[in-house]
């Protein structure tokens, strides 16, 4: 090894440089924790939430965040996580130990339930009554979002009767039918959309309804047949899962018929749900079953479309539509990052303030004069997609109600509101919504997979009645039986309390 001096020096420099860098970086990225500050100074609050858009204005130059900071006397620091990977992010964040002060929890997963039960999050139940907005939260939704009756987070409210059928009204007129009332009418509409050239282009290639690999549409349609919303009651008052009710098979047979007659897209099992709108916009399919406000989204892509919305279709037991849980995730406060009771109260006061009209306006519309203007009492956005407000709407909790200035109502958006209101009268609630099961928390994904896979296989004809039965047995064996027992135990406990 005959190396001259300068060589040696450069080698050692090369070897040491990465070390130095890693040391410096290691020091630099220590978690930013907000919290206690001197009196009068804005209080720093870190938030982790989901986002549907990658496009955000830098918080330092975002007028909306600055206005929010000023309104709440807070220094708000938000970490946006793409919605599609948010569930993974929760578990990773919980495991990492460096938690934000306000954290969106989308589902009561086992890791969150375990963390909450072992005291990782503040039980907010005793505090809520002290805040003007939060005290007026809907008790049913609060109960739905609770764990064993304890509220660990402030929910983001959503309409209970949100599910509906959205269809192309112009197509229905072209094929000379009126709005479907019964399951048979609905079937005839799909047949006409396939065979009667509804888009008047003289060519075929259209089909009735577009379904993606997201199983929601089937959940909605099966309630028409009288299948309960996830859990129903048998004659002894015991809770039984939807798939063990006799109506379930009727519903599945109907879906199978739709598939065999090619009234729904043949590749639905692999069809990506991000492309769900495309066939309707491209005049290939005429019906979509999802949330009613899907119509607003469709109209954004093609404002000239004529859309109709139907809340539900009458089956053997009349009009039925599955109720949503009434919330889309909740904001929980970890003890790790918010240490004292007085800090919790500060954070809650902040969350409470976000529900004031002024803050709701900021979150939904942005700053008046910059992001929107008010014309005839309706908000008019200055840009179609505004990076200032893109994701901030996600922080909208709307407790007790939506107070922000809404955009001018189009015919469709009026219809959406009407359908949602009408639906509230016919919704089928899920009696097990607030109940917890340990087995489900641990094996929920596998159990749901077995069930969903079996349903889809049955629809496309990969399995017959016997095969379906075998899958349901597998579901029971893989933990389903324990799940049913645990839910029923929890249910009786709640009933006894009442």
């Amino acid at each position: 090894m005959n190396l001259n001096k300068s060589w040696k020096r450069s080698i050692s420099a090369c070897c040491l440089a990465p070390l130095m860098v890693s040391v410096v970086v290691g020091c630099g990225t220590s978690a930013q924790q907000g919290g206690t500050t001197a009196a009068g100074q804005p209080y720093t609050i870190t938030i982790m939430s989901d986002s549907f858009s990658p496009d955000h204005t830098d918080p330092k130059s975002n007028p909306v965040i600055q206005a929010l900071d000023k309104y709440t006397n807070t220094d708000i620091q938000i970490q946006w996580v793409p919605n599609s990977s948010y569930a993974d992010k929760i578990n990773i964040t919980l495991a990492s130990g460096s938690l934000p002060m306000v954290m969106l929890i989308t589902d009561k997963t086992s890791s969150f339930v375990n963390a909450a039960k072992s005291g990782a999050f503040w039980d907010l139940t005793p505090y809520l009554k002290d805040y003007p907005n939060l005290s007026k939260a809907n008790p049913i939704v609060l109960n739905n979002s609770s764990i064993d009756g304890k509220v660990y987070g402030i929910y983001r409210s959503r309409p209970l009767g949100r599910n509906a059928i959205v269809y192309r009204k112009d197509w229905l007129q072209n094929v000379g039918l009126s709005e479907p009332k019964t399951i048979n009418d609905f079937y005839n509409m799909l047949v006409a959309f396939k065979t009667k050239d509804p888009n008047k282009d003289g060519k075929g290639g259209t089909y009735g309804m577009v379904v993606s690999k997201y199983a929601g549409p089937f959940d909605i349609m099966q309630t028409w047949f009288g299948v309960p919303n996830k859990w129903g009651q048998d004659k002894d008052g015991k809770l039984i899962p939807a798939q063990f009710t006799p109506q379930y098979l009727d519903a599945l047979k109907f879906f199978r018929k739709l598939y065999q007659e090619k009234l729904i897209n043949q590749d639905f099992a692999v069809f990506d749900s991000t492309k769900w709108n495309d066939p309707v916009v491209n005049k290939q399919a005429g019906v979509m079953i999802d949330v009613a406000d899907r119509a607003n989204v469709l109209l954004k892509t093609d404002p000239n479309m004529k859309l109709g919305i139907i809340g539900a279709i009458a089956g053997p037991n009349g009009l039925k539509s599955p109720a949503t849980s009434g919330y889309a995730g909740f904001y929980a406060i970890p003890k790790e990052s918010v240490k004292t009771e007085s800090d919790v109260k500060k954070v809650l006061a902040f969350l409470d303030k976000l529900n004031d009209k002024q803050a709701q306006d900021l979150l939904w519309n942005g700053v008046e004069g910059i992001n929107y203007t008010v014309q005839n009492g309706a908000a008019v956005a200055t840009k179609q997609s505004d990076p200032d407000t893109n994701s901030l709407t996600q922080l909208e909790m709307s407790i007790p109600s939506e107070l922000y200035t809404k955009a001018a109502q189009t015919d469709t958006s009026k219809l959406v509101d009407q359908v949602e209101q009408a639906n509230e009268k016919i919704v089928v609630p899920n009696p097990a919504e607030p109940l917890l099961s340990n087995t489900y928390a641990q094996k929920g994904t596998q159990l749901d997979n077995i069930l969903n896979d079996a349903r889809i296989k049955y629809i496309v004809g990969q399995i017959d009645d016997a095969g379906l039965q075998a899958s349901l047995d597998l579901w029971r064996k893989s933990g389903g039986d324990d799940y049913i027992k645990e839910i029923n135990d929890a249910y009786t406990k709640v009933q006894q309390k009442k």
């Binding site: 050692s12 070390l19 590749d267 099992a269 692999v270 994904t445 997979n449 889809i456 496309v460």
Partner: protein, 319 residues
């Protein structure tokens, strides 16, 4: 740094006691050791230090309670895993897919390298080489999307072609029988070119005199291939096969995850996707660590096993 003498003159001749030798050796080759240092540190910090984390496989690990607060549950996680009705399905799917890969994918780069080796036009050879490396740099997401576009029943080129030629439509994307061939075809398309690199390097090292001698003896192309080329790269093939065996339980999470759907999950579920769905989406960290540990142990056993067999049959093996 400035004061360090360039070389100790003592080293070459005097041999002090054994203990001293280590130090003097260290001192003599200090620059080499310094070069080694970052690499060693990398393995230490990122591979060896985190290894104690596998202990959570024997716990009921709860992030909030942390490592020291969580309960020890012994081998319960392993018991649950082996008693799980999914276990044999996962094992079967994983092993069959690996077998497909070893039988159909593993020989592909060797054959391609041999073909390239026979090419005499240097320009052509170099161009082909560069082009076949390209797919390797594509993300699996893109490969999966391309597959989807080609094979979908709603106007995919391959599906249309098949239904025109054979008069019936095959739904490749949801079919149970086509899932594995599709995965292997993707792998072959993506990785064959890249896989040739090592074999081409081995082929370049074959002594040209051997060929000349063979030609003098009247050997044709096939004889040369069989008696000279293949034996020369045999040890490379064996080493790569041993490494491949060790990874038998790894199927590549991304690819499987992207190609799975409700209709083919029965054959698509493998250990890698299972660890993801149980560990990350359900947050059962301990359980999925146990599954991961099981995979690693099987991998080590397979490496030692195939290495042993290789040595038995007269190859040098990897250790």
């Amino acid at each position: 740094m400035e004061n360090v003498p360039v070389q100790e003159p003592v080293l070459s001749t005097v041999r002090p006691a054994a203990k001293k030798t280590i130090f003097t050796k260290l001192k003599r080759d200090k620059w080499l050791y310094l070069l080694l240092f970052p690499g060693a540190l990398y393995f230490l910090v990122f591979k060896y230090v985190p290894m104690w984390g596998i202990l959570i496989a024997f716990q009921d690990y709860q992030p909030y309670l942390g490592f020291f607060g969580s309960h020890w549950v012994g081998v319960d996680n392993f018991k649950n895993f082996f008693m799980n009705p999914d276990f044999f399905r996962l094992l079967k799917n994983t092993l069959i897919l690996s077998a497909y890969n070893i039988f159909f994918f593993f020989p592909a780069p060797i054959i391609l390298a041999l073909l390239l080796n026979e090419v005499r036009k240097a320009v052509f050879k170099k161009t082909v080489q560069t082009l076949i490396y390209v797919p390797h740099f594509m993300s699996m997401v893109i490969v999966a999307s391309i597959t989807y576009v080609f094979f979908t029943t709603e106007g995919g080129i391959v599906s249309e072609l098949v239904s025109h030629l054979f008069g019936r439509q095959i739904d490749f994307l949801t079919s149970l029988t086509w899932f594995r061939p599709l995965i292997v075809m993707q792998t072959i398309w993506k990785e064959t070119g890249w896989g040739t690199i090592l074999f081409l390097a081995a082929l370049a090292g074959v002594d040209a005199q051997l060929y000349e001698a063979a030609i003098v003896d009247g050997a044709g192309r096939w004889r040369q291939l069989w008696n000279i080329t293949l034996p020369s790269i045999r040890s490379t093939i064996v080493i790569l096969l041993i490494l491949r065996m060790g990874a038998s339980l790894d199927n590549g999470f991304e690819q499987i995850f992207l190609m799975t759907n409700a209709l083919n999950r029965q054959v698509a579920d493998v250990f890698d996707t299972y660890v993801y769905s149980v560990g990350i989406t359900q947050g059962s960290f301990s359980y999925s660590t146990a599954v991961g540990l099981f995979k690693a142990i099987v991998g080590v056993v397979l490496i030692f096993g195939s290495n042993f067999l290789a040595r038995k049959s007269g190859e040098s093996g990897i250790f």
